[in-house]
Structures are given as structure tokens and as C-alpha cells.
């Protein structure tokens, strides 16, 4: 990734909307407000929502449009301090001990200082995020926090409130400028209130039809007007019926891309049932849409669109 010049933070909600739109992220006013406040107040932003509504994308867009470094911490079950914050380079440390011995070093304190020096510290994402320079703090994305366990969550409390990490052998490392923290969760379990309290919370919802259409235009500009309108209208209708997993915006964009690759200019029942796997990822849902319900929705979409013309 090319090194970009860090830009200052937006000064108003309007500027935040523009900043995101400049990087092809069409945010609604509520999201822009929360994001602006989080930047202004230096608070982490806690985004919750269904999969594929653009939570992770926010962090990426923010990093690229502000010219900041993006540091991503993907959470998983059993994530521990050694892989999230720091680790010592044990092999090098052992050599150091042997060398000291050979050179006749006997002062224990000096030896400890040499062995546990920054030279042997392996920095993991969180420690790395605390090393931003003034005016160029990185964006720290803590992705899918719900996948880790409570123990890690509790550990994050110190980092998110004071932006500092304590390494027992070295001391406390404090950030010169706090990183911009974005936390996302898919809600596979509830995150503790103590952590949420330190953040600004926002539920990222599916976009409305007009905004989704604009997103498709921006992301898949090759798809023609008619096709995009049909796609968005169809997906919006899918979200209203009782599916196990409703398609997200990411799926809409994928579908538009797929249909565009197939040189389609309008939706027809056959194409829908051939490509439905791009939108729906559960067999029950696919079976239901393939058996008639998809055709019914498509008819509705066509009728509405021609009525609007």
C-alpha cells in the first residue's frame, strides 16, 4: 500500500459524509454523526449489525481517506495477549543470555534489562496501534469481537479507556496519540456493558432502497440503470420475507457484479434461480426462493418499476 499523507479529521457531520462519499462509501446521516463524534471525542466506535452491512468497510474507508495506516486485529476463539499485543522473541533471548554469560556479565539487573529489551519485543496489532505519531494515529480495526471470549474483552478495557498497555518486564507503554478504534461484532453473543460503555454504539442497519441503489451505482458502475434498480428492489423484497439469513449489501454488490459479468440487462426468473447462490447462503432459503416465491417477487418488482416509469 502506498504511503499517503495523513489528513486532518473532519470538522463537521457534513464533512464526514463527504469524506466517506469520496471513498465510495454511502453512509446515512446517523452513521456519519456517530463516526464524527467518535473522531471528535476520541472514543472507540462500536458497530453492531448483521453480516455484510459494511461494518468492516467503514474502517478500511476511513483509513484510506484519512491517509492513515490500517491495523486489523481479527478476533477468534482463544485469542490471547501473545498474539494480540506482544510476544518475546525467546530464541533470541536465549542466545542473549548465553552471550552475557560468555562475556562474564554478572549483574542480574543489567542482564534482565538486556534480555527484556525492546529489541526482543515482537509487536502485535494492538501494541503497533499505540505507536502512532501526532496527527497520524493509525486506524485500529478490532474485527468480530464476539468471536473471542470474555477474558480478552476484559483485557481490552484497559486499552480502550487509557490507550496504554502494560508489559510487566518493560513497563507501561502509552500512546502518544490515541488510535482511531473501530470495533465490529456480528452479535453471536452479547458483549459486556463495561466495554460498550467506553464506546459509542451504533447498530448498522440494511440501507433503504435509494441508498442501496446509489451504493450499487458506485460499486458496479458498469451495470445499467434498469438492472441495478431491479436488483435493489428484489433484494429489498427478499429482506422483508422471513429468511434464515437475509442478504446484506455485500451480497447485493456481488450479485450486481455477477449479473453484469453474465451480460444481463434485466432480471428473468431463470437467471434469478441460477445465480441465487450469490445472494442466499442457506439451502432452506434457496429452496424456498427457487420454488415459486422468487418468481412472485420478481413479478412484483417488474410491476412496481414499470408503474414508476
Amino acid at each position: 500500500m502506498a504511503v499517503m499523507k495523513p489528513k486532518p479529521l473532519p470538522a463537521s457531520i457534513e464533512q464526514t459524509v463527504e469524506l466517506l462519499a469520496g471513498a465510495d462509501y454511502i453512509a446515512d446521516r446517523s452513521l456519519a454523526t456517530v463516526l464524527f463524534l467518535s473522531l471528535k471525542m476520541g472514543r472507540p466506535l462500536f458497530l453492531e449489525g448483521e453480516a455484510g452491512v459494511g461494518k468492516t468497510e467503514i474502517a478500511k474507508v476511513l483509513a484510506s481517506s484519512l491517509g492513515r495506516k490500517l491495523i486489523r486485529l481479527q478476533c477468534y476463539e482463544g485469542l490471547d495477549v501473545a498474539s494480540a499485543v506482544y510476544e518475546w522473541n525467546y530464541a533470541a533471548q536465549m542466545i542473549e543470555i548465553r552471550m552475557e554469560e560468555a562475556s562474564g556479565e554478572t549483574d542480574r539487573r543489567q542482564m534482565e534489562k538486556n534480555v527484556f529489551s525492546e529489541k526482543y519485543l515482537i509487536r502485535r496489532p494492538i501494541l503497533e496501534a499505540l505507536e502512532g505519531k501526532k496527527g497520524a494515529a493509525p486506524v485500529l480495526l478490532i474485527d468480530e469481537l464476539d468471536r473471542t471470549d470474555e477474558a480478552f474483552e476484559a483485557f481490552l478495557l484497559e486499552i480502550l479507556s487509557d490507550f496504554q498497555v502494560t508489559v510487566p518486564e518493560l513497563g507501561t507503554i502509552h500512546a502518544e496519540e490515541a488510535p482511531i478504534v473501530i470495533i465490529t461484532t456480528n452479535r453471536t453473543r452479547e458483549i459486556h456493558d463495561a466495554l460498550k460503555r467506553r464506546c459509542l454504539y451504533h447498530w448498522v442497519d440494511y440501507p433503504d432502497a435509494a441508498r442501496e441503489l446509489e451504493i450499487v451505482h458506485r460499486k458496479v458502475p458498469q451495470a445499467n440503470q434498469r438492472l441495478s434498480a431491479e436488483i435493489v428492489s428484489f433484494v429489498q423484497k427478499l429482506r422483508q420475507i422471513d429468511l434464515f439469513k437475509a442478504p446484506g449489501v455485500a451480497e447485493t454488490i456481488d450479485w450486481a457484479g455477477a449479473l453484469n459479468e453474465l451480460d444481463k440487462v434485466a432480471l428473468d426468473p431463470e437467471t434469478v434461480s441460477d445465480t441465487i447462490g450469490v445472494l442466499l447462503k442457506y439451502q432452506d432459503d434457496i429452496a424456498r426462493i427457487s420454488q415459486g416465491e422468487g418468481a412472485r417477487l420478481l413479478n412484483e418488482v417488474k410491476a412496481e418499476l414499470s408503474a414508476a416509469e
Binding site: 525467546y90 456480528n186 453473543r189
Partner: protein, 415 residues
């Protein structure tokens, strides 16, 4: 007092706005949202940071700070609408104070959380009303099952001290099947199988590097979350009290227990169960559930669980404990499909069935046959008169003893 003037700008320029935000936060708190004093301070700061522009911006600014659960959105929305729109508020108040005045406005559809926020704003108005009588119902509905939705309330006899002691003892002896998962975290263990380089380093420095003695660690083991789905329909009414006590005692001892009960609809009782006192917890449960001893719609309610809750509570290798007699009234096809989905979403599905001891049970058991292929373990409770019996049914047992396939084979040979 200097420290109370943390924000002199607010105090001077727009004192009333800050006051109003404080009152607004108080309203939210009364309506059941968790808004602490720190959040109020943040809210004022946020409004200062964002500036007061349009009503919408103001709405989302406060929303960003004061709401931190999605469930609270409706409450916030309603409170905001009422609080920050003075004319409507006045109208509403007038209406509240003069019950004789006929309501000429068109009746709107009640919004979510409207009554809760209304209660919070007009607290005291309702105090004069006589408390609602809760009729005590005692219907013995064993062996009957229906799909009709009957909404009933329920009163539980309080727990005696002896019962409580017995319950605690029984739970202490409880050993759930499949109740341990190996995590990817480690603990120091001299008999462990993995080297612990960090401990080695520390130990080596203690001796000045003369000796580098190997240190070991082994994976930590913890209890996975437990999700309980309990049937409270008419045919199970006799046992309800016992297993609610069981669930309360279990919640008290373990960290992750999610409790759901169902008869014609699904109710999440996890929060109610967290009350320390068993009587209070049960009283709250009794209030939260609308369909005590109602009909049985296992398939429907499992569908609801799968769709709304399974992805939220079945993470981290959860074990599901399903307590039901399997007497399904509705469509067996739905039941089978939903059981399959549930089975595939959890680590282990244990079915606890209290009705098995009765003769002639098999004949009615269409639902049982549909459910059996999709459970990992099938356990029968022979005596549900006491908690001990329930714990006993769940603890121990030889390998293969509770294999649902055995039960299925018995059904086939009987038929």
C-alpha cells in the same frame, strides 16, 4: 464546588439544554434503559462537539451516547419523540390529567415501548389504580396437548428452606454430559505436554542464566455455555416448578446459562433467572411468560429460536438441553426440519424427557419419533418429584446408554 462546574460553557450559555439532557436521561432510566451519570456527561459533551444543527442530528448525537443495545432503540425513539416535542407533551399531559375528556384524535397504532416510556414520564398517575388481581390457576393437563394459544398466568408456591438446601446439594453433585471444552488458552502445568518459553525465560533469569530449566503448560478447560429450552405447556405443567428451580440453581452456579421457555410462544428468561433469590426469580418469570400451561407448538417455537436466537447464544461450543415431552400437536414436518437445524447449530443436543415412564406413551409419540434422529442424547427422567431425580438423569451414565438410536429401534420393533 469547583468540580461540579466541569463545563462552564454549558452552564453560562445554554444552561437549560444541559438540564434538559439530564432530565431526558432520567426519563430513559425510568423507562428501563441503563444510563449512568457518565453517559449523561458524555451526552452533553457530544452535543457540544456536534453543535446543535437539525433535529435529526441532535437525535443521532444523543443516540450515539445514550443507546448501547439495539433493543433500547425503540425506547429511545419514543422517549425522544415525547420529550423533545413540547406541544405534544402538553397535549398528552392534559389528556392524562382529565380522564373524562373524550379522545377526539384518531387513535394511532401503539408504538413499541410507548407504554413503558409513558409510564416513566407520568409516574405516579397510575399508582392510584388498584393492583391487578392475579388469579391462581391449577389445571392438571397431563396427557393432553393442543395447538390452541391459551394465555395464562401462574403462581408458584414459594421455596422452603429445606428445598433450597436440597436443590443446592443436588446441583453441586450434577455432572452434565459433554460439559468440558478445551480452549486455546494455557495454564502452567509441570506435567503438561507443551513447552512454556515465557516461564522458562523468567526462571532462567532467576538463576542468572546458569540453568535453563524447561517449564511446561497445558490447555485450559472450561465449561461451555448451556442453553436450556424448556417446555411449559399443559402436559408439562406438573413439572414446571421443579425444573425452573433447577434452572435457577444452575444459573447461580455457572456463568453462561441461557434459559428459554415455550408452549405456544418462546420467552427468554435469562435475565429473570439471574435474580439471586429463587422466589423472586420465579415470580419474575411468572410475570414475563404469557402462556403458562398453554398448548404445544414445539416446531413453531423452535423455528423462532433458530431464527432469532440461535446465532446469538449458540456460539463458543454451546450445549443445548431440551426439556420437553415431545407431544407435538402441529405439523411434524416443521418440527423435524427445525430439530435438524438446531442439532446442526450446537455442539451437543441433549433431550430430557419426563413422560417416558407412562405406559402407552409410544402410541402418541409422533413428535418423539420425528425428534429422536436429531438429538445426540436422549435421557428420561423417571421421577421429577424432586430436583435430585433431574440431576441424576443428567449426570453420568455409561457410554451409549442414552443413544437415541436405541430408542428409535425400540419404536420400530414395537410397531
Amino acid at each position: 464546588m469547583k468540580r461540579y462546574q466541569s463545563n462552564p460553557v454549558v452552564a453560562k450559555k445554554d444552561g437549560r439544554l444541559a438540564d434538559n439532557i439530564v432530565y431526558f436521561a432520567r426519563t430513559l432510566r425510568k423507562a428501563g434503559m441503563r444510563v449512568g451519570p457518565a453517559a449523561v456527561k458524555d451526552a452533553i459533551e457530544a452535543v457540544l462537539a456536534a453543535g446543535i444543527g437539525t433535529r435529526d442530528d441532535f437525535y443521532w448525537t444523543l443516540h450515539a451516547v445514550l443507546v448501547n443495545r439495539r433493543e433500547d432503540h425503540a425506547t429511545f425513539d419514543e422517549a425522544f419523540r415525547l420529550f423533545w416535542k413540547s406541544r405534544e407533551l402538553v397535549e398528552k399531559m392534559l389528556q392524562m390529567f382529565s380522564p373524562m375528556a373524550p379522545d377526539m384524535r384518531q387513535k394511532e397504532k401503539p408504538r413499541a415501548a410507548e407504554s413503558r416510556v409513558g409510564d416513566a414520564l407520568f409516574e405516579g398517575q397510575k399508582k392510584n389504580q388498584p393492583p391487578r388481581e392475579v388469579p391462581e390457576l391449577d389445571v392438571d393437563a397431563r396427557f393432553t396437548y393442543s395447538g390452541n394459544e391459551v394465555l395464562r398466568s401462574k403462581d408458584f408456591a414459594q421455596m422452603t428452606a429445606a428445598e433450597l438446601a436440597e436443590a443446592r446439594q443436588a446441583i453441586a453433585q450434577l455432572r452434565l454430559p459433554a460439559d468440558e471444552v478445551v480452549t486455546r488458552r494455557f495454564r502452567p502445568d509441570q506435567h503438561g505436554r507443551r513447552a512454556d518459553p515465557r516461564a522458562m525465560m523468567r526462571a532462567a533469569l532467576r538463576t542468572g542464566g546458569d540453568l535453563i530449566v524447561p517449564q511446561f503448560r497445558s490447555p485450559r478447560i472450561k465449561h461451555p455455555p448451556l442453553v436450556v429450552l424448556a417446555d411449559i405447556s399443559g402436559s408439562m405443567s406438573e413439572y414446571t416448578r421443579i425444573f425452573l428451580h433447577f434452572l435457577h440453581a444452575l444459573t447461580e452456579q455457572r456463568r453462561h446459562v441461557h434459559t428459554f421457555v415455550f408452549s405456544t410462544r418462546l420467552t427468554n428468561l435469562t435475565r429473570q433467572m439471574r435474580h439471586r433469590d429463587p422466589d423472586e426469580a420465579l415470580a419474575e418469570c411468572a410475570e414475563a411468560v404469557a402462556d403458562w400451561s398453554g398448548g404445544t407448538r414445539i416446531g413453531e417455537t423452535l423455528h423462532e429460536f433458530n431464527r432469532r436466537w440461535s446465532r446469538r447464544v449458540l456460539g463458543q461450543g454451546a450445549v443445548v438441553l431440551l426439556i420437553t415431552d415431545g407431544l407435538e400437536r402441529d405439523d411434524i414436518v416443521t418440527l423435524e426440519a427445525e430439530m435438524e437445524r438446531l442439532h446442526k447449530s450446537c455442539r451437543r443436543l441433549i433431550w430430557l424427557n419426563p413422560l417416558l415412564r407412562f405406559e402407552g406413551f409410544e402410541a402418541k409419540a409422533r413428535g418423539v419419533r420425528a425428534m429422536l434422529p436429531h438429538v445426540d442424547e436422549f435421557r428420561a427422567v423417571h421421577s421429577l418429584d424432586a430436583l435430585a431425580g433431574l440431576c441424576q438423569a443428567l449426570s453420568g451414565g455409561r457410554q451409549g446408554e442414552y443413544d437415541p438410536q436405541r430408542m428409535l429401534a425400540q419404536f420400530r420393533s414395537a410397531a
